[in-house]
Every structure is written in structure tokens, then in C-alpha cells.
Symmetry: C2
Subunit: 138 residues, 2 copies
DNA sequence: TTAATTTCAGAGTAAAATATCCGAAACTAT
DNA sequence: ATAGTTTCGGATATTTTACTCTGAAATTAA
């Protein structure tokens, strides 16, 4: 089911992109996110709380409350979300499951794997989520 | 810990590469593989049995028995192993966890993700495991 | 000030992935 | 034949990941 990123991370990306489509400062409840994105309520709640704790989101309790991006979507990258949830393991992991993909013990796919990792990194930093959200609206 | 491929698949790749370093037809026991590759004995046994069932390996019981590649390592690709164990989900999966990465609902990272998937495929088919094993020996 | 609505914190459960156990069958060498 | 060594098949156990429950605290509006 999931490639590259954990479930919570995938959900976080979806949620953050959704929030980025709202006008700046508008609060969105976990309830809305769960119905629009089809993610289990308690699960997405936890993830949002986590992102809040990590200062990527801002939250507020009460009837008019919910979650919103903690800063301008122009200043948030996919990489920020991924690292907040999954850490940066994906950079060092070996495709074949050997200990670490450092420099020395070079295998036959090392170069290609390295290139792929660079591409992944590039995918995560090339656009901010403001641009992404704009493209999705169409 | 694991990127792209499942644990069993990672282990399978390691094991097959190890077998490819042996001279053609030589049998290798699960016991040897478990100690050389540091993979749980019962677990690697299961995986090898699975690969045997799927005709990628040949096996034999008894003292001189063990496992060997079912065909020449020049005719085996990483892709063969990956598809045997993990199937071909990695081709259709979405980075963000949406249902499927088809053509229509195009997101902001679609093009980059597509390119990455092509690179992954390329990594899996560009060399046969005979060449890989040769490169590893050095 | 009360009731409704929301996030928050922490524990608990369910499911999936990973790993193990066991007894049998196949084979080899003595 | 017999003992030793191996794979095989299927059940079981453990660990990790995914998901849920519950009760409390914060906020809002009537
Ligand atoms: S060089 Fe190859 S085997 Fe070594 S860690 Fe990187 S991907 Fe794995
Ligand atoms: S286009 Fe983007 S959102 Fe759609 S399936 Fe592919 S990666 Fe996922």
C-alpha cells in the first residue's frame, strides 16, 4: 500500500495540502478533514496534534477551533512534513536492506540508488505547498 | 528501516545475489545463508522455499542439499525477485497514499514521482545478477 | 453559567508484518 | 537399515504499525 513514507506521513501530507488550499488563517476541524480526506478520525487527530506539537500547525479548541498552518504555505516544503513524521531515514537506507548506504561497501546498484534518492529529495523540496495547492485546484 | 521493498524482499535480493556468486549448480544451505547474511534462519528458509515454489530457485533435501539458482544468473534480473515477492504494486502506488497513481487526478509531484518510478524500474532491469555479483566480488 | 464543540493526553485494541516452532518427508552417507 | 542432514508445510508467537477509546481541558456562544 504505502511506498516510501509511513501511513501517518502520507496522511499528514494530504492534510497539510488540504489546509494549504484554505485562505490563510482559516481554521479547519479534524472532523472536516476526516470526511474530506477519508482518513480515520482519531488517527488524523493524533497526527494533527503531533504536527501541532512540532510547530508546523497551529491549533485552537472550542466550536470555532481546529487546525491551520503555523506559517505561510509558501514557506513549507514537503520535506518539512516528511522529516517531522518519518525522520530522515529514507536518505541513508539501503535498497537491499543492508545496514546503511554510506560510501564504501558499494554494490552494483549503488549509483542508481543514489540518483533515485537525489530525485526523491528533489521532489520534496522543489515546490512549496502553496504552489502545490494552487496546481491541485485545477 | 526498509525503503521501497518489504523485508522478505530485501532478504530475497541479498540471498539471490549471494547464490549468484557461487559457481553454477553449487548448492547452498539455508544455514550458510543465515550465518553469512545475518538473516533469521527460519525466516530465510521460508523465503527460499517461496522462491523455489516460484521456480526462481532449485532446491534439494538431504546432507548435500540446499538451494541454487534455477537458471543462469545472466538470465535473472532484480525485477524478477522483486515481483515474485512484493508483486508490482510499487509501480501504481501514490506517494501521498491516494488510491492509485493513474493518469487523471494529477497532483503537483506527479511528474517527478513518475520519473522516480521509471528510475526504480531502470535500476531493477539494467543489470542481470551475474554482472551484479561480479561487481560485488571486488 | 451552562451546554456544545473542539483539541489534548494517554491508554488501549486490532491488524499486519516479521519471526519462530515443530513434526514430517526427502535425501545422503555410513 | 540407520542415523544425520536438509528442505517442506503449516501452525504459532512476537513485534511493529495502524487505529480507537475515554475522559479531561480549552474555547465559544447562548
Ligand atoms: S551501496 Fe548498495 S548495498 Fe551498499 S548500502 Fe547502498 S544500496 Fe545497499
Ligand atoms: S498524481 Fe500525485 S496524487 Fe495522484 S496518484 Fe500520482 S502521486 Fe498520488
Amino acid at each position: 500500500m504505502s511506498v516510501l513514507f509511513s501511513r501517518p506521513c502520507e496522511y499528514a501530507l494530504q492534510a497539510v495540502l488540504y489546509l494549504a488550499q484554505k485562505r490563510e488563517g482559516e481554521m479547519t476541524s479534524a472532523k472536516e478533514l476526516t470526511s474530506k480526506l477519508d482518513i480515520p478520525y482519531h488517527f488524523i487527530s493524533k497526527i494533527l496534534q503531533d504536527l501541532t506539537y512540532k510547530k508546523l500547525l497551529y491549533s485552537q479548541t472550542g466550536p470555532t477551533g481546529g487546525f491551520a498552518l503555523a506559517k505561510s504555505p509558501k514557506k513549507i516544503l514537503f520535506l518539512d512534513i516528511v522529516e517531522a513524521i518519518d525522520g530522515k531515514d529514507y536518505k541513508t537506507n539501503c535498497v537491499m536492506g543492508f545496514s546503511e548506504c554510506g560510501g564504501e561497501k558499494v554494490c552494483a546498484v549503488h549509483d542508481k540508488w543514489k540518483l533515485i534518492k537525489e530525485n526523491i529529495h528533489n521532489m520534496l523540496v522543489s515546490k512549496n505547498i502553496f504552489e502545490m495547492a494552487k496546481e491541485m485546484n485545477r
